[in-house]
Subunit: 198 residues, 2 copies
């Protein structure tokens, strides 16, 4: 190929990111080429900075630049509710609704026997340590509504309930703004099961 090596190399590097195929990688590469040098340097520095400065929070496994993380360290938040999520980025989504004022626990995965991920891989000791030491009143299970996420939620519920802690699962149902006709049968069935009096 008669293409410049730095260009093909950046395309190859970008293609290693999830969801980025050949065409998107090309488009991004050429848009980086159109940026000013300062802007491109800022992007490169931001990439290096996350790898240099981000560690796991020793309490909740969140990705953070200070340990314990800002959520665990925030005195305005309560230890009484712990929201269990699969991945650290799930916290971003929940934080965005600005409603939840408890703390989190990141599993960094879900139970998935087919991928060899059992309870040991999820570092649950850490979670149960928190449940024992703190005055936790409720654990919200916010794993994804996938087969693995559901199985993980059921598994955790079985272990946590005997500790006398309330265990809840986020509601599964029709997304707001969608319509019944677009909902699959499983979602519709969950929506029916989860119906509430109004």
């Amino acid at each position: 190929m008669d293409t410049a090596e730095p260009i093909t190399r950046l395309i190859e590097e970008l293609k290693r990111l999830p969801g980025i195929g050949q065409k998107t990688a090309q488009r991004l590469t050429y848009s980086i080429l159109r940026k000013s040098k300062t802007d491109a340097e800022q992007l490169a520095r931001a990439i290096l900075a996350v790898k240099e400065k981000i560690v796991y929070c020793r309490q909740c496994n969140n990705l953070t630049d200070v340990d314990p993380c800002r959520i665990c360290a925030n005195p305005a938040r309560t230890n009484q509710t712990i929201c269990v999520v699969e991945e650290a980025h799930n916290i971003l989504s929940i934080e965005k609704i600005r409603e939840f004022r408890g703390r989190y626990h990141v599993l960094h995965g879900v139970l998935s026997p087919i991928n060899g991920i059992g309870p040991e891989e999820l570092n649950l000791k850490n979670l149960f340590g928190r449940l024992e030491q703190n005055d936790v009143k409720e654990v919200v299970l916010a794993t994804n509504p996938t087969v693995e996420g559901e199985a993980t939620a059921i598994y955790l519920a079985k272990l946590i309930k005997p500790l006398g802690i309330k265990v809840t699962r986020i509601a599964l149902g029709i997304p707001v703004g969608s319509s019944l006709e677009f909902a699959d049968e499983v979602t519709l069935s969950k929506a029916m099961d989860g119906r509430r009096e109004i």
Copy 2:
């Protein structure tokens, strides 16, 4: 927000790329966090390298790490056919079919009076210089089949034909693997106009 600053900064930087919204930027950021430090550094270095090493080819305006670019410098290619494209990344697409063995000319834009882009902005002097100096037999107009791309092709054809050079336009029609029922009327009309004897 209780989120780590390096994480939000990388998300913001990624969002400045075209077609990258909040959710994709988040997904990419967390995938970069999961990469090894070496892999993240490679990506950052590749970004810096394109800005440091890539220049415009003085002959064809292609983006290149050597000037003239590898395509202009390749003695196995012919000066007799010049393919005019809107953007440097269009060259990648055409090179991939491994059929075209002529040279390119990159306009870095299209005529777009609404955006204030007239013939002066497209650096056409450069192109006509090449047409005069070299023994060019054919100019292939491969601008996009958009209103602006079409207008640019027609404009260039009008200027180039009087020089006694054959001017061709890439075929517009039904994409291979698609079907008539999915083609819009303009495409179908172009496909009928462009029909060839078999």
